[in-house]
């Protein structure tokens, strides 16, 4: 082994050890005793995983705040200060990326998904997995993870099409589009019920194609960081080739634009979350190349989508019921 490789491996080993120590300390000193006192020790292993979700989220938020804030200052689309409209998106980001909302949704969906999964198995349906079709992936879990990532992104593209096309779903999803001062914090600004529907569909996808290997938490964090970047208030395109490979801030801004973002034959354009190729394949890529203002057209005539977290959620339910 050459000295450089040794150094890199040594550094990686030290990093993993330090991370493991941090994870174990937080878990053993706070989470585990709390679970024990609440009589929830059955969930101890799951809680150990969620402790890491929280830790990764915390590190991720700090890094995003440092890097993307700098980017937004360097080449902003719209020069602005932090306003109440942006602050609420920070709350969404904290609730989602630190794991609180996903955990609540997980426990809400768990009995439904496990009930269905269990019922299917009693009827001799064991969810297949991609690796059954491509056994070579069994020895290469990272390749397997990437295949699942593409499949999940493909599913997300169609979920996103449905969020715009189906009236009831748009009533909820419109909240995400109502941000007229878009920043990288906007990624997680979603109606809670919108998140529940999305996760329910993704759970069905998992029953059809299996679950991705769970160990690539860093890659998951990277893909989430890309989604944050896509929402950033920054003039940035990935170039002629790059724009086909990954969703850029330019590409996604058009998706949030008043007009091209939610109107037309497809009720919007540029629906892809990570890989824009879906929009090119299915004819939903927008020809717009600049950085238009964001929001929903009816906001120009005074429709209120709320400014604070609770009002935004409440108005979402009202729109769903056809009363707002």
């Amino acid at each position: 082994m050459d000295p450089l490789e040794n150094l890199v491996l040594g550094f990686a080993g030290a990093f993993v050890a330090a991370w493991a120590q941090l994870h174990a300390t937080l878990f053993e000193s706070v989470v585990q005793p709390a679970l024990f006192h609440l009589g929830l020790t059955t969930w101890i292993e799951m809680a150990f995983d969620w402790t890491e979700v929280f830790l990764i989220g915390a590190v991720e938020i700090v890094l995003l705040a440092l890097v993307l804030t700098a980017l937004e200052k360097w080449r902003p689309v719209e020069a602005r200060k932090v306003s109440p409209a942006v602050r609420v998106d920070v709350i969404y980001t904290l609730l989602v990326r630190l794991g609180a909302l996903p955990l609540a949704i997980f426990f809400l969906l768990l009995p439904l998904v496990e009930g269905l999964d269990g019922w299917l198995r009693l009827h001799d349906y064991i969810p297949p997995k991609i690796e059954d079709a491509f056994p070579a992936l069994l020895a290469h879990p990272m390749a397997s993870f990437l295949v699942y990532l593409v499949i999940i992104d493909f599913a997300m593209y169609w979920i996103h099409r449905a969020q715009h096309r189906l009236g009831f779903w748009w009533a909820l999803h419109a909240l995400h589009h109502s941000q007229r001062e878009m920043t990288f914090w906007t990624d997680d600004r979603n109606h809670v019920l919108d998140m529940v529907f999305t996760d329910a569909v993704l759970a069905l996808v998992a029953l059809a194609v299996g679950v991705p290997p769970g160990q690539f938490v860093l890659l998951v964090a990277v893909s989430r960081a890309l989604e944050s970047l896509a929402h950033a208030n920054v003039r940035m395109s990935f170039g002629r080739v790059g724009e086909w490979i990954l969703v850029s801030p330019r590409f996604h801004r058009v998706h949030h634009a008043i007009g091209p973002g939610h109107e037309g034959r497809n009720h919007g354009s540029n629906f892809a979350v990570l890989f824009p190729v879906w929009d090119h394949l299915f004819g939903t890529a927008s020809p717009v190349r600049d950085y238009p203002p964001t929001g929903i057209r009816d906001q120009l005539t005074g429709r209120d989508y709320g400014e604070g977290f609770w009002r935004q959620q409440w108005l979402g339910f009202k729109r769903l019921a056809g009363r707002a």
Partner: protein, 322 residues
């Protein structure tokens, strides 16, 4: 130079056999990293991980086949079993379509293979060649399994329902159940086939049941998060991991008393005892380590870095299972 080489070689051999004397030549310690989907192969002579092999999604438990020629790894989220060489840990073959296998066990007569589906609240009974005989719905979160010596009954703890159930293997039906303390996990049949010991993970004790009389006969205080068992191999004692107290207790199966409890930090879970009875190896889940305890001094002598959330472990030269 040749002589020096030989001397060094001999010295290395002596050191290796001295530290790894408990294990046969070439025998590896095999650890399931449930969070990584990998198997860590640890050389007991150097006490270092030599290899990490992808095995499937969420491998939690493993056991040798009755003929000891293969090691079965249960991949809960992959819905399959992977068979390893029990000596080297290399993958030999894969059996698909085993639903959510978490804890697994063979009946002593080798006729039935029982797979406990922890996530989906089922106990699945397979024939020895993995043909499904019956899926039995259970209460919430079934966990560990034990058998009567005559292979007529399988006992399964059900964590969230705070009970354990008895399944008649001939008819594949639940025949009775008994309530337990909070979150029963590890379940262990004493060598005399009289008592079942159950680790009460939501509390700090082991409950002892006379299964023929269907009643609890004793509680033994061990430590917070009493969890899983492994035999010391002397026909008399069994070790129990207390995953929250970070300790291991030794229980006398005849007098039904806790003999001693010693510290093992990091969340001890599954354990193995070496054939010579001198070392206890345990996965310590929260700190991503495989821990070696010297059973004379009752001290941790080594922590070996492995993968994330290490759970099941195995080595061929283990102490007898009773």
């Amino acid at each position: 130079m040749k002589t020096i080489g030989k001397v060094i070689g001999l010295a290395a051999f002596l050191v290796a056999t001295a530290t790894g004397a408990a294990h046969g030549p070439g025998e590896m310690v095999i650890v399931l990293n449930s969070g990584d989907g990998t198997v860590s192969i640890v050389d007991p002579a150097t006490r270092k991980e030599v290899k990490r092999i992808p095995v499937g999604k969420e491998p939690h438990h493993l056991m040798a086949t009755p003929d000891n020629k293969e090691l079965i790894v249960a991949n809960a989220a992959s819905n399959d079993l992977v068979f390893l060489d029990p000596k080297s840990g290399e993958i030999l073959r894969r059996v698909p379509n085993i639903s959510d296998p978490y804890q697994i066990g063979y009946s002593p007569d080798k006729k039935w293979f029982v797979s406990v589906s922890n996530r989906l609240d089922r106990v699945d009974i397979y024939t020895a060649d993995f043909k499904l005989a019956k899926r039995i719905p259970t209460g919430k979160v079934p966990s560990h399994v034990a058998f009567t010596a005559d292979s007529t009954i399988a006992f399964v703890t059900v964590q969230e329902s705070n009970e354990f159930i008895a399944i008649d293997l001939a008819t594949q039906k639940e025949i009775w159940k008994l309530p337990t303390g909070k979150q029963p996990a590890g379940i262990w049949m004493t060598p005399d086939d009289r008592h079942l010991l159950i680790g009460i993970t939501g509390e700090s004790h082991v409950e002892v049941y006379d299964w023929r009389a269907k009643k609890r006969v004793k509680k033994m205080l061990t430590g917070l998060g009493a969890h899983n068992f492994v035999a010391r191999g002397d026909g008399r004692h069994v070790f129990l991991s207390n995953r929250m107290a970070n300790s291991v207790s030794m229980i006398d199966q005849q007098s039904l008393e806790v003999k001693e409890t010693f510290n093992v930090p990091g969340g001890p879970d599954c354990m193995e005892v070496t054939k010579d009875g001198k070392q206890l190896w345990t996965t310590t889940r929260w700190i991503r380590m495989l821990t070696v305890v010297d059973l004379e001094s009752k001290k941790v002598v080594q922590q070996i870095p492995v993968g994330k959330s290490p759970h099941g472990l195995f080595f061929l030269s283990h102490a007898p299972r009773q």
